[in-house]
Amino acid sequence: MSEILSFNNVSFSYTPEVKDARKAVQNVSFTINEGEWISIVGHNGSGKSTMVKIISGLLFPQEGEVHVMKNVLTEENLWETRTQIGMVFQNPDNQFVGATVQDDVAFALENNGVPHEEMVKRVHTSLKQVNMDSFLNHEPHHLSGGQKQRVAIAGALAMRPKILILDEATAMLDPQGRAEVLNTVQELREETRLTVLSITHDVEEALLADRILFMNDGKKYAEGSPQEVFSLGDKLVEFGLELPFAMRMTKLLKANGVSLIGEHMTEEELVNDLWTSNFNK
């Protein structure tokens, strides 16, 4: 497995001149390998977006190093690095640059001087990958939030990035839009083994990941598989994170005297346990 991205004891403060000011990111280290789906969870203001800005070179850490494709991210290789990272942000409207869907998907290609024929090809294939190929000439205000986010994903894919980063990309969407976007990401993963880093508030979304980083007040509090991280249970609740629905349900059922074995992350597990629990008596 080759390494795509890593943080090495990264610290960042928005006010480095103030002594002892709280750092937005404190001494964070992690590694993302090719083909993984990593989720970063944590309460509002825990430093998630700051980390994304550090990865994309919008901010430079005061301490520590960021490696992208094993190279240290510096001012010199910044633009080169950005071509390898696809990003989708929270607000669907505020990242739509082009006048129409196809113009928007082509934006990064234009910026990087991709020749015209190649651009047309890539715009069409990336839109097909997110199932938006029939919307080529649509204007953004005629699209739903979920559709806009899928176009944003296509715009990122057009550069053939090594990693796709979603910073709360589903936070402003309705349930249907959220499902659309998540399905798109899952399909992409199945087809291309694309490496994904998704920052999210939504625990159900985090459960889809291979590994979860749990941030609290700028520090990495825990890291591990969804099972490992969510087994922290009440600790997570204390730090402002909701537990997955199935876990909360399990807790409530147990509190009310239903005998269940273990903690359940997904509804399916819970249901299986529920309807077999009586046999085991």
């Binding site: 633009w79 942000f89 082009g98 204007e139």
Partner: protein, 265 residues
């Protein structure tokens, strides 16, 4: 109200005019605006009017739609016509009522100016109706490209224009939302003395500006992350194609100018 206005509106289609390159259309319209001033007698004004009708026919935009959409402008037209009729005092008197006299020259000038006005407004409207705003922006960018030599930031201006156009509907929606939110809290924008109404606009503008700045910041971030660093080394996704139609339309325009020069007195 908004549905009827045709300023800045684009009506998709595939007529001869729709298919022209934005560059040739822009050059055509600007040249036409100058050429219009060559007309100075009945034949030349008649020619201009006929030519304009021909363009409208070619664009397959319904004349009724055009006239209907330009009603506010036509009021201005009637006004200029009246001014000419009332204040020109040359030639024979054609109508007299007490001290109020209408002269032949006044009627003629009034009609000429009206034709000039109609022709200019209709031709520029055909341009905006048959060309998408983004194509117009592209056309302007390419046409102004030589001015880069004198340090005019042509690419930046074009990008600004296209982003502004892109965000107009978004900000309109937002204004609407804020307006409803303030109305739900009891602010009344449509009644009361002017002073109160102006005061009621402030709580509308402040949130709108705050959100516009937030949007601008987000957009700048998104653009930078997607590799935007100015016009240098950029390729264009939209290709402008100059074909036989464009050459023909410019040749026709030159012929029209020649004919007008020949026929004017």
């Amino acid at each position: 109200m908004m549905e009827k206005m045709i300023f800045g509106r684009y009506i998709p289609g595939d007529s001869f005019v729709h298919r022209l390159d934005p560059r040739s259309k822009l050059v055509f319209v600007f040249a036409f605006i100058i050429i219009v001033f060559l007309a100075n007698n009945t034949i030349t004004y008649g020619l201009l009017l006929a030519f304009t009708l021909f363009i409208i026919l070619l664009s397959r935009i319904r004349l009724y739609f055009l006239i209907n959409g330009l009603k506010p402008v036509l009021i201005l037209l009637v006004f200029t016509f009246l001014i000419h009729i009332i204040f020109t005092r040359e030639g024979n008197i054609v109508f007299e009522l007490g001290f109020f006299k209408i002269y032949e020259e006044g009627v003629r000038q009034g009609i000429y100016i009206s034709i000039r006005f109609v022709v200019l407004v209709f031709v520029t409207s055909v341009l905006t109706l048959t060309t998408s705003p983004i194509s117009i922006t592209d056309g302007i960018e390419v046409l102004l490209n030589p001015l880069k030599k004198v340090k005019l930031p042509v690419h930046e201006l074009a990008l600004m224009m296209s982003i502004a156009l892109r965000f107009i509907p978004t900000l309109m929606d937002e204004t609407d939302k804020i307006m409803k939110a303030q109305m739900a809290r009891g602010s009344d924008l449509s009644a009361g003395p002017l002073k109160d109404r102006i005061k009621a606009v402030v709580p509308l503008l402040v949130p709108l500006f705050v959100s516009a700045f937030k949007r601008a910041e987000d957009l700048a971030t998104a653009m930078e992350v997607r590799g935007y660093r100015g016009g240098e080394g950029r390729t264009r996704y939209r290709k402008l194609k100059w074909d036989w139609r464009d050459s023909i339309s410019l040749v026709v325009l030159i012929a029209l100018a020649a004919l007008l020069i020949y026929l004017r007195t």
